[in-house]
């Protein structure tokens, strides 16, 4: 069994080749990319210790992204389900509408520091694309967003936003026309332009440095949550932290400060989309987008196609860090179907004022399954990591309405 180290940030628990637990991650990339990612690693290691940079990051998080996101109890849902107390960490309240705002902003800041004028990123649901486009505009960088043509059509509100922010949307029409192809094409763009372009990978995937930057940035969520919990409860109560898993960026941010806790004290639960669920369906380890990870493949090792109503979850791979957390037994992973996510959205929006996007609706589904089985003293916290407006059309198609 793989063991986690205590008191060492999760992202730093890799060996010199970038492997976590001797098994996940690495740097499976073309020679052309080696020097640029090595330079980026050096820059990042310098910046994360640099007070001035951290101050700048905090300034942007506070004033540009709107500061701390709310943490509150869902009284109606708690009463309705009649078990555990249900709390919401409403990350969707951030300017930018999703946790992607954190690493989009950090990537733009790093790009600025590197002296590069161009930034390129991939997006599935459009949340990372939109936030990267915004950050690039703010920091005067030229931005390209790679997006599958299927996602361009199903996440149209975000595409419009990206274009309005002045970024170029590069449609990717190969393969399944979704996130997996967008990431591949964005990496190709980087291989061809790494001398003047910063690559901002939209999830906690890719070669070692990219997942480190991502998880480091989103960890803002758990830093806030820890304080908010202590303020509410006077201590860290017995918790279950439920988070949706696509590429895994929001969960890593939501869990980061709690990794060292015993799992009986703080349980970490990841929820994948049922037909894009490498972590919860015993997928094999495969190399995808530069890293070894749990990934859906066919017998020959070709990357498998996935199916999810949610563009952000429609990805065959998973973060190497989640493979690490799974094999060490620190986190457990389950999944929810499109139907279950839709039902969760229906119930949540009937009882509460939040409007989750399809991605966190999967996490809410697990919360609804779990809460009635637990005691009142148990605390469930769900990361409501994305706003629902982008899925309005899909919700109307599937449910016949979108709540006010």
């Amino acid at each position: 069994m793989i063991k986690l180290k205590k008191k060492t940030p999760l992202i730093d628990q890799h060996d010199k080749f970038g492997f976590y637990g001797n098994k996940f991650g690495g740097n499976f990339c073309a020679e052309t990319m080696r020097k640029p990612i090595e330079d980026l690693s050096k820059l990042f290691e310098k910046l994360r210790k640099d007070r001035k940079f951290l101050k700048k990051r905090d300034h942007y998080f506070r004033h540009y992204l709107g500061g701390e996101t709310p943490f509150f109890k869902l009284e109606n849902l708690t009463r309705h389900l009649g078990g555990a107390q249900i709390w919401c960490k409403d990350v969707s309240a951030i300017n930018g509408d999703a946790h992607k705002a954190y690493h989009a902003t950090v990537n733009a800041l790093i790009c600025k520091e590197s002296g590069k004028r161009y930034i390129a990123g991939d997006t599935g649901a459009g949340m990372f694309g939109k936030n990267l486009a915004m950050a690039a505009k703010k920091m005067n960088l030229k931005c390209k967003i790679f997006m599958g043509t299927k996602d361009i059509s199903r996440q149209a509100p975000n595409v419009k936003f990206i274009r309005n922010a002045g970024a170029e949307v590069v449609p990717v029409d190969s393969g399944s026309k979704t996130l997996v192809d967008a990431v591949s094409e964005c990496m190709r763009h980087y291989v061809s332009n790494c001398d003047n372009t910063h690559l901002a990978v939209g999830s906690a995937i890719g070669c070692n440095i990219f997942l480190k930057i991502c998880a480091w940035s989103t960890s803002q969520i758990s830093r806030e949550l820890k304080k908010q919990l202590i303020k509410e409860f006077g201590e860290i109560p017995k918790l279950k932290l439920i988070n949706v898993i696509g590429g895994g960026s929001s969960a890593l941010g939501f869990w980061n400060e709690f990794i060292d806790y015993d799992k009986k004290h703080v349980e970490l639960i990841g929820v994948e989309a049922k037909y894009a669920a490498p972590l919860s369906t015993n997928a094999k380890v495969a190399i995808l987008h530069g890293a070894a990870q749990y990934c859906l493949t066919d017998k020959e090792g070709q990357i498998a196609e996935t199916h999810s109503l949610s563009a952000g979850l429609d990805y065959p791979g998973s973060s190497p860090l989640h493979g690490f957390l799974k094999d060490s037994g620190r986190a457990r992973y389950t999944n929810a179907s499109d139907k279950e996510a839709l039902a969760a959205f229906k119930l949540i929006t009937k009882l509460e004022d939040i409007r989750p996007s399809l991605e966190p609706a999967h996490a809410w589904s697990e919360c609804i399954r779990l809460a009635p089985k637990l005691k009142k003293s148990d605390v469930l916290v769900v990361n409501n990591c994305g706003k629902g407006y982008k899925d309005k059309k899909i919700y109307i198609e599937q449910l016949g309405y979108y709540p006010k």
Partner: protein, 266 residues
């Protein structure tokens, strides 16, 4: 240890020309056709590279992506590739063959089993696009043990310090990527700059055979003829695409193209 790849370079050197190396995708557009193409162009080649198709090829441009897609559509599997290599090696005019692919395909098959199969079917060399130095040290050793040449890559972004390390651990052939790009884009640098990069590598260890690839076409090939070898890939894949689109026989068209390429470097 057999020295088929070294010999191929020696022959070309004797004729005072660079070795001509083709890249096609095994199984493009069908298993039989890809073998027919290779059989037909073999007489003009010094070394043949055969791509193992993968559906997430992050370092390939559109042309090779199309070829890989066609091959996968027609059901090519790794075991088919080994069988086709065996058949190719049995033909009279066969040349040393290098398989080129992404590490996932090898990882999924199992490193040891993969190398054994390579050896048994007559594969002379391997290029693994996304298994770069120093992560490839063990794999390269395993290749050497089995008399397979592991081809290291050097890019325009590779520092001289790193270059020296790569060359030190390299076998008889080194692949120099001409320009910062995926496969098949136009050359971004001047010929002069590419040759200059090439000379830096050669100077470190003159005895290594260094080939230049990426962006080499009918138009650019003769300008680079001072190299030990030149790889033409995307231009050939593009010709296959064009032939299929126009309802022509890719075997004939690709053979013509390779003959032209050869004539440009004689």
């Amino acid at each position: 240890m057999k020295n088929s790849i070294n010999n191929a370079f020696k022959i070309a050197k004797k004729e005072n020309r660079p070795a001509l190396i083709s890249y096609t995708v095994c199984g493009d557009n069908t298993k039989d056709k890809s073998l027919q193409i290779l059989n037909s162009i073999s007489k003009d080649l010094d070394i043949a590279e055969w791509g193992i198709p993968h559906n997430c090829p992050t370092a390939d441009g559109k042309d090779i992506q199309n070829s890989s897609y066609r091959a996968l559509q027609n059901g090519i599997r790794l075991n088919d590739i080994f069988n086709l290599v065996k058949k190719f090696k049995k033909t009279k005019l066969s040349k040393p063959i290098i398989l080129m692919g992404y590490y996932q395909m090898i990882f999924n098959y199992g490193e040891k089993k993969f190398i054994q199969k390579c050896k048994a079917s007559g594969v002379d060399g391997l290029i693994v696009v996304d298994l770069s130095f120093p992560d490839n040290k063990n794999f390269a050793k395993l290749c050497k043990k089995n008399s397979i040449c592991f081809v290291q890559l050097i890019a325009p972004t590779t520092t001289v310090k790193r270059m020296k390390e790569i060359i030190k651990s390299s076998h008889e052939m080194i692949y120099m990527i001409s320009t910062i790009s995926t496969t098949g884009s136009a050359l971004k640098y001047s010929i002069k700059r590419i040759i200059k990069n090439y000379n830096v590598i050669k100077k470190i260890k003159p005895s290594k055979n260094v080939v230049i690839g990426f962006g080499i076409t009918k138009k650019t090939i003769s300008n680079l003829r001072s190299a030990d070898g030149l790889v033409v890939g995307s231009a050939i894949c593009r010709e296959i695409t064009r032939s299929l689109k126009d309802g022509q026989n890719p075997v004939i068209n690709v053979s013509k193209l390779v003959r032209i390429l050869k004539n440009k470097i004689i």
